[in-house]
């Protein structure tokens, strides 16, 4: 239903107004002007409608018409999404590049996933079957890692009156026909879904398992949950993007949707060049086989930047409905908020805090609420975890995007400039970060890893907190004045910071670490502190207790103990015991003499 209506009367950057467009609906997708630029209706008013345009409006003229499509801004969901890279409204960048230029051409129109490519579809229903929303009618092996399940769209059910033979088809091919009271429905290999509406589910499940990332400070101290949300705020240069990349590479989600929202072009290129070379530790296959990239870099049109996070989450919901665990990285949600602000400014809306529109908090909450562990239509369990980077202006966490995000996320990983200056990476501040999922996840940790895992976590955090307080004193009077037991806390904290919290993304034994190894490392550090503290209490001077060789060995165990030789930790513990038992007996005697 495409009709040519209206007349453009106002153009200001991405904002265009048309008159004589009476039947336009709110949030409807339209094609603007002769170049048929893609746009979305954002307000309707008697005879005048306002449209935000997802492409550059340079060259647009007053008086040109628009085409109404009758449907909201939607994405095509079907095979061909995984391994692909799209712009903010699901147009494949690879196809644009293949047209022969390294630059994004003008007026590309509404292209989307490949309509020609043949997929081997296995049809799993037969004529006469009664199927309803969410039921699987065919399967396609989309990549070596992902089996794509074609599901009956949420609003349809009926009796199968036609089922195509299994075979190779393109996505436009009709696989089955359903009949119900309303009539006949043809189901192809894709469905359309409006990006701004969440896909319906049967119910939400409680959170039970962590999203394991292989990053020590996250997994052991501030865990993410499958179906949970997290924010990573940090000023520039604190390592948001590299943290997001690490999560995309190593987390144990089935599918990663990585959205570059108004960020650097080179970062997306880096992902495109690096990911195919990295193998997933679980499957041994390239992680690109389970990755979807959405890139709307900072110099691409601002309205498409605003849409990109919705495109990403809609794709994630579609795969979640198949029963997969999805992790979404949005880098950075601040750029999305700025896109909102920019468009709001052009609409001359009343600004709230720092020029952001008053609806910023509700939009943020709506987005993060699309995360969750659910039972999808059709009865499959799947989850979406959202991890949003936040780029606070001036690194100041009191600004509106950080504050409003903080209210709606479960895990908060605060990046710290001073840690980054000291090249302590990941620069996650252990005093300002938190995870709201500890209680939900504690049964999982106790059962799957070790009963004492969370106890060790609490002990380490206490030590670090203690150290922070002591450092205040040290800054004033120096370390030498402290009593030995407090100096020991400083020394052990240093081991935790350098040997545990710092993690080298470029070291083959350190880029990602299993929870088993994390637990064993914590045990070693804990034993070191307990034993050393005993010695200090017996009066052994700190110079003896802080054995350089042993401390060095423990600080570097992250590099030297590989995942297949975890028993080496037992040797370390033996070494600790023998050293301090020796000291104890030596000084014990002195005391008794």
């Amino acid at each position: 239903m495409e009709t040519n209506i209206g007349k453009i009367v106002y153009i200001n950057g991405p904002v265009v107004r048309v008159i004589e467009a009476y039947d336009l609906k709110m949030r409807e997708m339209v094609l603007v002007g002769q170049k048929q630029l893609i746009g979305e209706v954002i307000s309707v008013d008697k005879a005048m409608a306002t449209i935000q345009v997802y492409e550059e409006t340079t060259g647009l003229m007053r008086g040109e018409g628009i085409i109404s499509t009758g449907r909201p801004l939607s994405v095509k969901l079907g095979p061909g999404i995984i391994k692909n890279i799209f712009d903010g409204i699901e147009r494949p960048l690879l196809n644009m590049y293949e047209t022969g230029t390294a630059f994004i051409p003008e007026g590309i129109g509404m292209i989307t996933i490949d309509e020609e490519k043949l997929w081997d579809a296995e049809v799993v229903v037969k004529v006469g079957d009664e199927i309803s929303a969410g039921d699987i009618y065919a399967k396609v092996q989309e990549t070596v890692l992902i089996e794509h399940k074609l599901m009956v769209p949420p609003d349809i059910s009926g009796r199968v009156v036609f089922a195509e033979k299994s075979g190779s088809y393109n996505i436009e091919h009709v696989l089955i026909k359903l009949e119900n009271e309303q009539g006949l429905h043809e189901l192809k290999m894709y469905q359309l879904w409006p990006v701004r509406s969440a896909r319906p589910v049967n119910r939400r499940n409680p959170i039970t398992s962590p999203l394991i990332t292989g990053q020590r400070i996250i997994d052991s101290f501030f865990p993410l949950a499958k179906g949970g949300t997290a924010a990573i705020p940090g000023g520039f240069g604190t390592g948001k993007t590299i943290t997001q990349h690490q999560l995309a590479k190593w987390s144990d989600a089935d599918i990663i949707v990585y959205i570059g929202v108004g960020e650097r072009g080179n970062e997306m290129t880096e992902v495109l060049e690096d990911f195919p070379k990295i193998n997933d530790p679980k499957s041994g296959k390239s992680i690109m086989e389970r990755t979807v990239l959405i890139a709307n870099t900072s110099n691409m049109p601002v309205a498409a930047r605003e849409a990109s996070i919705y495109t990403g989450i809609t794709i994630a919901e579609y795969f979640r409905d198949m029963g997969y665990n999805i992790a979404i990285m949005a880098d950075s949600t601040s750029r999305w908020a700025e896109a909102l602000r920019e468009i709001s400014g052009r609409l001359e809306e009343m600004p709230a805090e720092e020029g952001y529109p008053a609806y910023l908090p509700s939009r943020l909450a709506q987005f993060y609420e699309r995360a969750g562990d659910v039972e999808a239509l059709g009865g499959r369990d799947g989850s979406i975890t959202i991890i949003g980077a936040v780029s606070p202006a001036g690194g100041d966490f009191s600004e509106p995007v950080t504050q409003n995000t903080k209210r709606v996320v479960g895990t908060f990983l605060a990046l710290d400039k001073s840690l980054a200056y000291g090249r302590h990476y990941p620069a996650i501040n252990w005093l300002r970060s938190y995870s709201g999922y500890i209680t939900d996840l504690s049964p999982w940790y106790e059962e799957k890893i070790a009963p004492d895992m969370l106890e060790l976590r609490a002990k380490m955090l206490r030590l670090l907190q203690e150290e922070d307080k002591l450092m205040e004193i040290v800054k004033l009077v120096g370390e030498d004045i402290l009593p030995d037991d407090q100096r020991l806390i400083l020394e052990v904290s240093r081991v935790i910071k350098v040997g545990y919290l710092q993690q080298n993304a470029y070291h083959k034994n350190d880029a990602h670490v299993s929870l088993k190894k994390q637990h064993r490392m914590l045990k070693v550090i804990d034993r070191l502190y307990v034993k050393a503290n005993n010695c200090v209490k017996m009066g052994v001077p700190i110079s003896k207790v802080k054995n350089d060789k042993l401390f060095y060995k423990i600080t570097t165990m992250k590099y030297n103990v590989t995942e297949d030789k975890l028993e080496m930790f037992d040797e370390l513990i033996k070494e600790i015991d023998s050293l301090y038992d020796g000291l104890e007996s030596m000084y014990g005697k002195e005391v008794s003499r």
Partner: protein, 457 residues
């Protein structure tokens, strides 16, 4: 034949408003004829009903409602380009101002097109600047955008000139290197300083200049970097050259943008800057890089002065979020007559990780740089402690760090305007400094590298 509009509706600041216009295009260039023969150019920035708002490049002085006629060209702002621009000087709208004419083979839209991330090549080769603190700790990479964050009165111009004089691109056998220089709102003497040094060092015929001085019209200040970057793209991608673009001063540029935004009565965001400042800056900075179809590259060094040395000011802040790192100059080091006064701790090159180390500079480079950072960062803590309790009372180890800090600043940072150090020299100085500390303190360096480089000293 296009229509000529003989009457204006309104003139306001740098804007003129026309009414009764039928066929205006958003973003097109208009030709404005003031009285007899005085031509100016403008750009359509808003269409509202039959009213069209035009931003005038050369300024609106002399324009009245009745003495001016406007004709629409139907084209975006374009400049002619060819390889012959090398050695020439242009103004902010791409007209030659060195006394000779210029005719290019083709005209190019100054707004460019965004580079498709799929079409980019990831930058993986360093540029040796001969400046230790940059080469050693924040290595400049070919295709990178690495800004200089400076303050008024700090020697950022000297540093930029020194980089231009000394820059050597590793692997550039054909010496296919040129500089595009965009000056936005800088003073006459600053422009002369650059010009003089380009001549002295014999690079003038490899430099293209686009100049908009502090007293030139501000609308041209907006187009200056766009002209310069279009020229850079032409040289890099059509002629396979390696281009270093120096853009100075981004703060003046942003202020011009704010001035225009205010005159259009737009809703302001932080500190009165328009809400689209981020997108606008990104449309400049993102034009750095390399593409798959060409051997050339565009490396950008934008220079900006932080108002009141405040790094959280919107201009440095937004710049830092777009660029791939930053080099920060410090007033404190400058006052202690250390040149270049680069504050290495907050300075960073995001792309260096893929461009240094084995196969590029030397295998020890990443570790030794990391260690020097960590040690110098500790020096700051020790210094603040020593200020409280006095240097005599700090521990023996901390005294070693104090000495490390002093020598680091004197031997490593302070190298002077004329000194051009090789990468090997820079790395060796770093090891020499680390020998001031005991081996057990060097926890960022792999043991085998310590054996090789630390123990033999």
């Amino acid at each position: 034949m296009r229509l000529k509009y003989l009457k204006l509706y309104k003139v306001e600041g740098p804007l003129i408003i026309l009414s009764g216009v039928k066929g205006a295009m958003f973003g097109e260039v208009v030709d404005i004829e003031v009285e007899e023969g005085g031509h100016k150019r403008g750009k359509v920035v808003q269409i509202d009903g039959d009213k069209v708002i035009i931003q005038v490049y050369e300024g609106t002085a002399g324009i009245s409602l009745n003495n001016t006629s406007v004709s629409f060209t139907g084209k975006p702002m374009e400049i002619p380009l060819s390889r012959d621009i090398l050695g020439r000087t242009f103004n902010g709208v791409g007209e030659p101002i060195d006394g000779a004419g210029f005719y290019g083979d083709r005209k190019y839209d100054i707004n460019g097109r965004p580079i498709n991330p799929v079409g980019r090549k990831y930058p993986r080769n360093y540029i040796e600047t001969g400046i230790s603190s940059i080469d050693g700790l924040a290595t400049l990479v070919r295709g990178q955008k690495l800004p200089l964050f400076s303050g008024d009165g700090l020697p950022h111009n000297e540093l930029a000139v020194q980089i231009i004089k000394q820059a050597r691109i590793s692997g550039d056998e054909e010496n296919n290197f040129a500089v595009v220089f965009a000056a936005m709102g800088i003073k006459h003497d600053e422009a002369d300083f650059f010009r003089k040094h380009f001549e002295l060092s014999g690079v003038s015929n490899r430099v293209v200049m686009y100049i908009n001085l502090a007293d030139d019209p501000i609308v041209e200040r907006i187009s200056t970097p766009r002209c310069a970057l279009t020229a850079a793209e032409h040289l890099a991608f059509a002629h396979n050259m390696h281009i270093l673009v120096i853009m100075t001063n981004m703060t003046s540029y942003s202020e011009a943008l704010r001035e225009l935004s205010a005159s259009r009565e737009e809703v302001p965001s932080r500190k009165g800057y328009p809400g689209y400042l981020y997108s606008d800056l990104a449309s400049l900075y993102e034009r750095a890089g390399m593409i798959k179809d060409s051997k050339g590259s565009i490396t950008q060094i934008p220079i900006l002065t932080m108002p009141n040395d405040d790094i959280t000011h919107p201009v440095p802040d937004l710049t830092g979020f777009i660029t791939e790192g930053q080099i920060i100059l410090s007033r404190d080091l400058h006052q202690r007559t250390i040149y270049p006064p680069i504050n290495v701790l907050p300075s960073l090159s995001r792309l260096q990780k893929e461009s240094i180390g084995e196969g590029f500079t030397r295998e020890d480079h990443p570790d030794v740089a990391n260690q020097v950072f960590s040690a110098y960062s500790h020096v700051q803590d020790v210094r603040s402690l020593a200020q409280v309790i006095g240097e005599d009372d700090i521990s023996e180890m901390d005294k070693k760090y104090m000495e490390f800090g002093r020598q680091f600043e004197q031997k490593f940072l302070n190298q002077g305007f004329e000194s051009n150090r090789s990468m090997q020299d820079t790395l060796n100085i770093m090891w020499e400094l680390l020998t001031l500390l005991p081996r057990s303190e060097l926890d960022r360096v792999k043991p085998e590298l310590l054996d090789k480089y630390y123990d033999k000293r």
